[in-house]
């Protein structure tokens, strides 16, 4: 880390800008997108910066819609390009058909969702209401995205590299699931090295037939059910292999009697809850899933063995909590605290909830 700091000066950037700069440094071949708050800075930054980078051949294109954007991503990914798009919740909903096609055709790409409050056109304020959509498919058919959930501006940048690395390793679309606050806020960031993500060979890409091989065909249409099942089995095998990529982070879980589980911005707020609770002598710890798919079921199950209860905190009506409950299998009570529609629980509110549950639990035990 210290060595990196010497080579790269820290910069103060918005999450959206840091992500866009990381994309340039990842040498993306193309970005296709359509502006929507709270993530328009991504396309704005790329439009402004790419022409100044004479060494870059990146295409940045504002499409006529999100539907067009995702289908451009599909086409470019099929041709072997390192390609991405970004949008916010309603725009990501529009893309779901294309994402399902890309997953079926097994193409690597990056989709960034800077989530805003919904449902519907909703609000432009930060939310985590798209957890189900991101982790359980979103479009039709049996598929999964690789889903990374940053919780700082630094990770908004770093996860661009991680997402492409994983997407290309597994030939699978990857998603960065952020939220409006992470996109809009500024923090210190040390950007990943320019050109630091080597291109991977893509022998399957439709780059024109050569004499030494047959036709490369990219499709998501497998009209024979036997063929379609084969593709599905292959996908399922791949998802199984992806489980090894699971990542999470823990804060003060060693002696924790109460465990918070939260991702993204909620995990930052819960770090404050841990600090405030510890000041009062309450032994709180926090587990933050970094990958939402694959999900750290096993680690949550392990930790559930040694805590009194779990409180899952999200900026939605309770989505990841279902995965936490799956992990815990009823061994300890799993409670939920969340606000919706662009509202965010304050650290004080969450701590109050922890204390209230703690009291209730003690009454039950007495």
């Amino acid at each position: 880390m210290e060595k990196e700091m010497k080579t790269e000066e820290p910069r103060l950037m918005k999450g959206n800008e840091a992500l866009a700069e990381a994309a340039i440094r990842a040498n993306i071949d193309a970005y296709f997108g359509y502006p929507i708050t709270p993530q328009s800075e991504i396309i704005e930054y790329l439009m402004r910066e790419v022409p100044n980078r004479k060494d870059k051949k990146t295409i940045v294109l504002q499409a006529e819609s999100e539907v067009a954007s995702i289908n451009m991503v599909y086409g470019a990914a099929g041709a072997g390009a390192r390609v991405m798009t970004s949008s916010s919740s309603p725009g990501i909903s529009l893309m779901q058909e294309g994402i399902s096609y890309i997953a079926s055709a097994q193409l690597p790409c990056l989709i960034v969702n800077v989530v805003r409050g919904g449902p519907g056109l909703g609000t432009i304020q930060p939310s985590q209401g798209d957890y189900f959509q991101a982790t359980k498919g979103g479009g039709h058919g049996d598929y999964h995205l690789i889903v990374l959930a940053p919780s700082s501006v630094q990770e908004m940048a770093d996860f661009v590299f991680d997402a492409f690395r994983l997407a290309e390793k597994y030939r699978n679309p990857a998603m960065i699931l952020a939220d409006g606050a992470l996109g809009q806020m500024m923090e210190k960031v040390i950007l990943p090295p320019d050109g630091g993500l080597p291109k991977t060979p893509k022998p399957w890409a439709t780059t024109g037939k050569t004499k030494d091989r047959g036709h490369n065909i990219i499709t998501s249409l497998f009209i024979q059910p036997e063929e379609m099942e084969k593709v599905n089995l292959q996908l399922q095998k791949k998802y199984e292999e992806m489980q090894s990529e699971v990542r999470w982070e823990e804060f003060q879980t060693d002696d924790a009697e109460i465990l918070l589980v939260a991702f993204g911005l909620s995990a930052r707020i819960c770090q404050k809850v841990v600090d405030l609770g510890r000041e009062k002598g309450i032994k709180i710890g926090l587990l933050r899933p970094i990958t939402l798919y694959p999900f750290p079921y096993k680690r949550i199950a392990e930790l559930s063995e040694k805590v009194e209860f779990i409180l899952d905190v999200e900026m939605n009506a309770g989505q990841m909590v279902e995965d936490v409950r799956l992990a815990v299998e009823g061994k300890v009570p799993v409670y939920f605290k969340g606000r919706m529609g662009g509202m965010i629980s304050t650290p004080e509110e969450i701590l109050q909830e922890v204390e209230a549950i703690h009291e209730k639990q003690n009454v039950l035990h007495d």
Binding site: L12, T123, G180, A181, M185, E187, R268, V274, I344, T346
Partner: protein
């Protein structure tokens, strides 16, 4: 030594509250501190008021979104109405005197009125009222050196605007003097 300052800066759009916050965050970064800057970007901003939360800390910043503040720097009446109660007991509230008809009334915090707009007018530069407020803040809470703020300004402004730096420096120092005068009075 102040280890951490959690600050809310609020006012009308166009008063430079977001840029003041960004400058403080930038200067904090130059001094090797941890910083975060969280702007309002939602419907309230579109209604003409703007605010940002700035945290400058010697250690890791947990939540960039908080509801209790060590310091509030408030440039209009709606901001005072909204954020007076959000200052931690023992905290600091600096407000722009001429725009606030109903001044804050709490007795468990330190309250300093600064006639920033009037003073900026005297400098023939309405737009530096925010820097007068920033100077006043740094006089009370010297978490950063004024020189670092100027350095941050040099980096934040394009070189064609560097002619404005002496004026900003003047405004920062004016803010500091106003606090000193207020404390003597």
């Amino acid at each position: 030594m102040i280890k951490e300052q959690e600050i809310i800066i609020a006012g009308f759009g166009g008063q430079g509250v977001l840029s003041m916050g960004r400058l403080i965050a930038y200067a904090g970064m130059i001094e090797g501190k941890e910083v975060s800057w969280m702007p309002s970007y939602g419907p309230e901003m579109r209604g003409g008021t703007a605010n940002c939360i700035v945290i400058v800390s010697d250690s890791r910043i947990s939540s960039p979104i908080i509801t209790k503040f060590d310091t509030a720097i408030l440039l209009n009446q709606p901001s005072v109405d909204k954020f007076e109660k959000a200052v931690k007991p023992g905290g600091l509230l600096i407000y722009e005197q001429s725009t606030v008809i109903h001044p804050p009334t709490r007795t468990d915090i330190e309250i300093i009125p600064i006639p920033a707009i009037e003073e900026a007018d005297k400098l023939n530069a309405k737009q530096v009222a925010n820097m007068i407020m920033a100077g006043a803040f740094l006089e009370k809470k010297p978490i950063l050196k004024i020189d670092t703020l100027i350095e941050a300004l040099k980096k934040a402004l394009p070189s064609r605007r560097h002619n404005l730096i002496p004026l900003n420096e003047l405004a920062l120092n004016r803010g500091r003097e106003l606090v000193k005068q207020a404390e003597l009075a």
